[in-house]
């Protein structure tokens, strides 16, 4: 209990009237990081301690840590896949651990930048507002680093994270008050600000260290499908050498770090569903919405992209990752059960719609979730209002019967 004693010893300095009173939020954050605080999810100690989206005995800390654990399979697979893609595109003879180590080294700066920038801003705002630091960014930080290409320039990532935390979250009052998913705000910011680093063929494969040459192009299935390269996509299928359905399912394809492997994401989904952290209604309705929209395009079949079997949409790009980890974000999703069905269904449908009809935006999932984030409060409002009306009518008929 050395650490406990030390913390207790310096605690007065950070309390009201102490020498470092200004840093009280920072101290509190590190104390509750090291030890479980005596007061959890009370709401009485400080209102900010309890996120407005927490409606259970479980507290924010445990929720976020569950999400982080659920992200681990995708993270570990993503690290290995970085090395695997580099090795196979540059024809390097790397073993499993070499590939993993290379991916780890490429991944580490991204995670560090994401966390350092994001947490610094969170701490800053907590100190300015005299609030306790919220755990919200622990999950967001890792999601951000999983949905970017491995070659993303770190300074751009830093700006995007700062933008997402300030404009996406803190201006509305911090964790639990944001109406947009901060991780997707960061990605959307990168996508619109620096499109050449977020899409195209040459951003998905990391270069080996000490390599000085042109970047190798390794297009993602989505990039191959959008625009003029439709024929190259179908030829890559017919040759069945590059992207087979199984490759896309396992995730050994170029793409954003954590988004490629559907298996790893499904593992995370199991954890989230088993612990009850994410809503199964949203996940299921996203899948249904995307599938039905895919089938609708199959029925129209005007071009090759429309003829693509609907289940390919589940395996390509960020559909699976967005469905499991971002559409289900409890803060920005719809809160009512009926609302969740509508919200999820429209996310799936819009994602496929954007992908197929707008080749300028290959990643429709990001825009679909952000769009529905905006509509989630409206959906909830309508669901609640219609429920009230229904009960009113029922009461009116019951009253008449009694009379």
């Amino acid at each position: 209990m050395k650490l406990r004693d030390f913390i207790d010893k310096i605690k007065p300095d950070f309390s009201k009237g102490g020498r470092f009173e200004k840093l009280s939020s920072t101290f509190e954050a590190f104390e509750s990081f090291a030890f479980t605080p005596n007061t959890v999810t009370g709401g009485k100690v400080a209102p900010s301690y309890r996120g407005s989206h927490i409606r259970d005995a479980v507290d924010l800390k445990r929720t976020i840590i569950t999400v982080v654990i659920a992200l681990l399979p995708a993270l570990l697979f993503g690290m290995w896949n970085i090395g695997h893609q580099t090795a196979s595109f540059y024809n390097l003879d790397w073993g499993f651990w070499h590939q993993f180590w290379f991916g780890f080294l490429r991944m580490l700066p991204i995670i560090v930048v994401s966390y350092v920038v994001g947490l610094f801003i969170e701490f800053l705002f907590a100190e300015i507002r005299h609030e306790q630091v919220s755990e919200g960014f622990i999950g967001t930080g890792i999601i951000i680093s999983l949905i970017v290409p491995v070659t993303v320039p770190l300074w751009q990532l830093a700006i995007a994270v700062a933008f997402a935390v300030i404009i996406g979250k803190e201006v509305f009052g911090g964790s639990g008050y944001n109406f947009l998913n901060p991780a997707l705000v960061a990605r959307a910011f990168l996508f619109f600000s620096y499109p050449s680093h977020m899409s195209g063929d040459s951003v998905w494969i990391a270069q080996p260290f000490h390599f000085t040459g042109d970047a190798i192009s390794g297009a993602t299935p989505l990039a191959l499908l959008s625009g003029n390269s439709l024929s190259s996509f179908s030829s890559s299928f017919s040759s069945s050498s590059s992207f087979s359905l199984l490759d896309m399912f396992i995730g050994t394809i170029p793409g954003s770090i954590g988004e490629t492997s559907v298996i790893a994401i499904l593992l995370g989904a199991l954890i989230l569903l088993f612990t009850g952290v994410a809503s199964w209604r949203i996940m299921l309705s996203v899948v249904i919405g995307g599938g039905l929209m895919g089938l609708l395009f199959n029925a129209i079949g005007a071009n090759e992209y429309m003829q693509l079997p609907f289940y390919y949409h589940y395996l390509m790009g960020g559909f699976a990752f967005g469905c499991v980890f971002m559409a289900t974000d409890p803060v920005t999703a719809a809160q009512t059960n009926t609302g969740k069905w509508i919200y999820g269904f429209l996310i799936g449908a819009f994602a496929v719609l954007l992908r197929v009809l707008n080749p300028a935006y290959p990643e429709g999932m990001m825009l679909a979730i952000l769009l529905m984030n905006c509509f989630a409060p409206l959906i909830d409002h309508c669901v609640v209002a219609s429920n009230r009306n229904r009960r009113k009518k029922r009461w009116a008929t019951a009253e008449r019967r009694i009379a």
């Binding site: 619109f192 600000s193 620096y194 499109p195 680093h197």
Partner: protein
Amino acid sequence: MNSNQKKLITNPLGKNNPITVQVLGICSCLAVTAQLKPAVVMALSVTVVVALSNLIISLMRKSIPPRIRIIVQLVVVSALVILVNQVLMAFVYDVSKQLSVYVGLIITNCIVMGRLEAFAMTNRPWDSFLDGLGNGLGYGIILVILGFVRELFGRGTLWGYPLFEKLGLYNIGYENNGFIIMAPMALILVGIIIWIQRSHNKELQENK
């Protein structure tokens, strides 16, 4: 100029700014501020139109029948806007082409009609002129700030001068931000200006 008249000019620049406090004229402020030069020209045009229309309407205010005052105001504003448009086409044709419909749309700018109705109809000509000038400048200062930030970080230039290129920023890996050129980012920037202004000015904050 007495202190009340000075306030007519300084208030719109600060705590009664037409864009950041009254939230008027947002449309044109998003549309024309992708670069500094059109933003400055637009700011000057609006200032001239608001100031002169305020002056003219104030001179006529006693002879305008109340029931048709909006039409009279519109005729005056339209005449001024057409004049400004002709001047721009004659002297700064490039900018005039860039601004395209937004010069003509000054007629529909809420700030112009708002000042006529709220101030010029009931105040003396010199006060009205100063009020128009102040509001035009208050609108203009936000436009110039937006134009400055958006051109600098969106294109790396200032008034067309390739500043970031001369500084050698591109050689060390810097890149222009494409998002800041788009209208949504302009709206976010306006929001940030409002945020900063409100946090510095207690009068603008609602009671908690």
